[in-house]
């Protein structure tokens, strides 16, 4: 099967600063889930930003469904079918829940289809349905998190990139979030996940991608990474002992 996303020899960095990502390669096929792990500052978020156009790659190729997307604007890449949930909570605080959901279908021309998708998102997240006219900035943290996922549902991407979904969430919410991710994956959407809680992230993934200092260390099936003794000591440390 051909790759949905094919990234080769990616080099990326910020402003006039040094290269942060060096010669990075990453491929993903339809319906696959990959989890990128690595220490703080390894460049995991930077890789996601470079794929989605939030940061323009310095060199290298990024192909999505065979089309070159490197250097394109973020909104153009999004319209190809890549949805990015960045680390910071990505809602529009002074818009109502309904308006936020509607933003998920912003680039959709077919208004009927847009309404269907919003309707479907509300069905999947009934809590939001009760608060459609509330300003989303006044929702609780957990509800805001749900709103982000509901909006992603309305986008219906082919590939979803999720940065640190569990960061700063209470344990119950972490479970809920991984449930959302499992649902996304089972609906056929490919997922690239970056997760601080490597243990939990790898459990949800087919493949583990280990990176450090802006480079790929290795990539293996997730269960092998979970068994790998070095990885258990280095990255899974606390989580593995729990």
């Amino acid at each position: 099967m051909t790759n949905l996303l094919d990234m080769r020899n990616l080099v990326a960095g910020y402003g006039y600063g040094p290269d942060i990502i060096h010669d990075f390669n990453l491929q993903i096929k339809k319906s696959e889930v990959k989890c990128i792990i690595g220490p703080n500052g390894a460049g995991k978020s930077t890789v996601l930003k470079a794929i989605t156009g939030v940061l323009k790659p310095r060199s290298g190729a990024v192909e999505f469904e065979g089309k070159d997307i490197a250097g394109k604007e973020a909104y153009q890449i999004m319209r190809q079918g890549i949805c990015f949930l960045p680390q910071e909570r990505a809602i529009f605080p002074n818009m109502t829940v309904a308006e936020n959901l509607k933003m998920g279908t912003y680039s959709l021309q077919d208004k009927r289809l847009a309404e269907e998708r919003i309707h479907h998102a509300i069905e999947t997240f009934p809590v939001l349905g009760e608060r459609l006219h509330q300003l989303s900035g006044t929702l609780s943290g957990g509800q805001q998190q749900q709103l982000v996922y509901a909006r992603a549902f309305a986008i219906q991407p082919k590939l979803m990139l999720i940065d640190e979904p569990s960061l700063g969430l209470a344990p119950a919410l972490v479970e809920q979030t991984f449930q959302h991710i499992a649902n996304i994956a089972s609906s056929g959407i490919a997922v690239i996940l970056v997760e601080q809680n490597a243990f939990r992230g790898l459990e949800a993934a087919d493949y583990g991608v280990v990176m450090d200092l802006g480079k790929l260390v290795f990539e293996k099936p997730a269960n092998e990474v979970l068994q790998d003794q070095r990885i258990r000591e280095l990255y899974l440390g606390k989580a593995a002992k729990q």
């Binding site: 949805c83 990505a90 680039s107």
Partner: protein
């Protein structure tokens, strides 16, 4: 009592004009974090457009509102392309824009003064010196008309931002630029169009100002501080806030002028600026465009 009502109504009419004067300023700040100190000189540019159209072909300044808006919006697009386009995509450079737009204001001021000199002018359509009476309340028609046109334009702007697709994209960009991009908003286009709309609003305000206040190129220095006090009270970036701030300060300054001394009425704006910055720097309505 009647007299208080009279003063309040005059203050409100003027307040809506002030609100229109600052709506573009606050829109541009909300979307791009550009503190556009050249906004008042753009208003004066709009006033000159209306003034000359009136002098040369006798066009009523209310009818030249759209023309002044278009001319200044076009000027805005040119300025944006020349000065801001490269950096507008970065959300963190509002300090730098203060210097940049200050310089821009000086240049435009210089050009206008070179051609038209710093003599006082006012557009004088027939209604400019009229007044109407509603019961015992007397309202100069210039203020009534300019207030009504301002309300109309501000309402149109609010509806556009609330309901149109592009208006929603503008609000989304001002609230969370990265998220807006990530749901498919062409943020660069939003920036350009918002800048043009903001400047167009300045131009339309200029057409109205041209028959309400006397103006000359360097008068904008005086307006900068007043306009800053209005947007700071409302909360930089909030259009609702700017309107409410403008109405409150305009009424208060009219009351001070009527019951204390006209010499102190301008003080109201600066005092408000000072107090708000000291005790509630985010203003009444935070920092977002609504």
């Amino acid at each position: 009592m009647m007299q208080v009502l009279q003063v309040v109504i005059l203050g409100l009419a003027l307040g809506f004009v002030y609100a229109l004067m600052v709506s573009g300023l606050t829109l541009i700040f909300g979307v791009m974090r550009i503190v556009n100190l050249a906004h008042p000189i753009l208003i004066i540019t709009g006033a000159f457009v209306s003034y000359w159209l009136f002098i040369l072909i006798g066009l009523d300044p209310i009818l030249s509102v759209p023309l002044a808006a278009i001319v200044v919006a076009f000027l805005g697009i040119v300025l944006y392309k020349l000065v801001f386009e490269k950096d507008a995509a970065k959300q963190t450079y509002s300090e730098m824009t203060v210097l940049l737009t200050f310089g821009m204001a000086m240049v435009i001021d210089g050009i206008l003064a070179f051609f038209f000199h710093n003599t006082q002018r006012i557009t004088s359509p027939s209604y400019a010196t009229d007044a109407i009476f509603i019961g015992e309340i007397f309202i100069p028609t210039a203020q009534l008309y300019s207030g009504l046109v301002s309300v109309t334009i501000i309402t149109a702007l609010a509806l556009f931002l609330k309901y149109s697709n592009f208006g929603v994209a503008i609000r989304a960009t001002s609230q969370n630029r990265t998220s807006a991009e990530l749901v498919g908003v062409n943020v660069k286009l939003v920036c350009l169009v918002s800048f043009a709309i903001g400047c167009g609003l300045a131009g339309s305000a200029g057409a109205l100002v041209s028959f309400v206040f006397s103006f000359f190129p360097s008068r904008h220095w005086e307006w900068i501080a007043i306009m800053m006090s209005l947007v700071v009270l409302g909360g930089m970036g909030s259009i609702t806030g700017a309107v409410i701030g403008a109405l409150i300060l305009s009424v208060v300054s009219s009351l001070v002028s009527a019951y204390y001394s006209p010499a102190w009425s301008t003080m109201v704006f600066f005092l408000a600026l000072f107090v708000v910055l000291l005790f509630r720097p985010q203003g009444l309505f935070g920092v977002r465009v609504d």
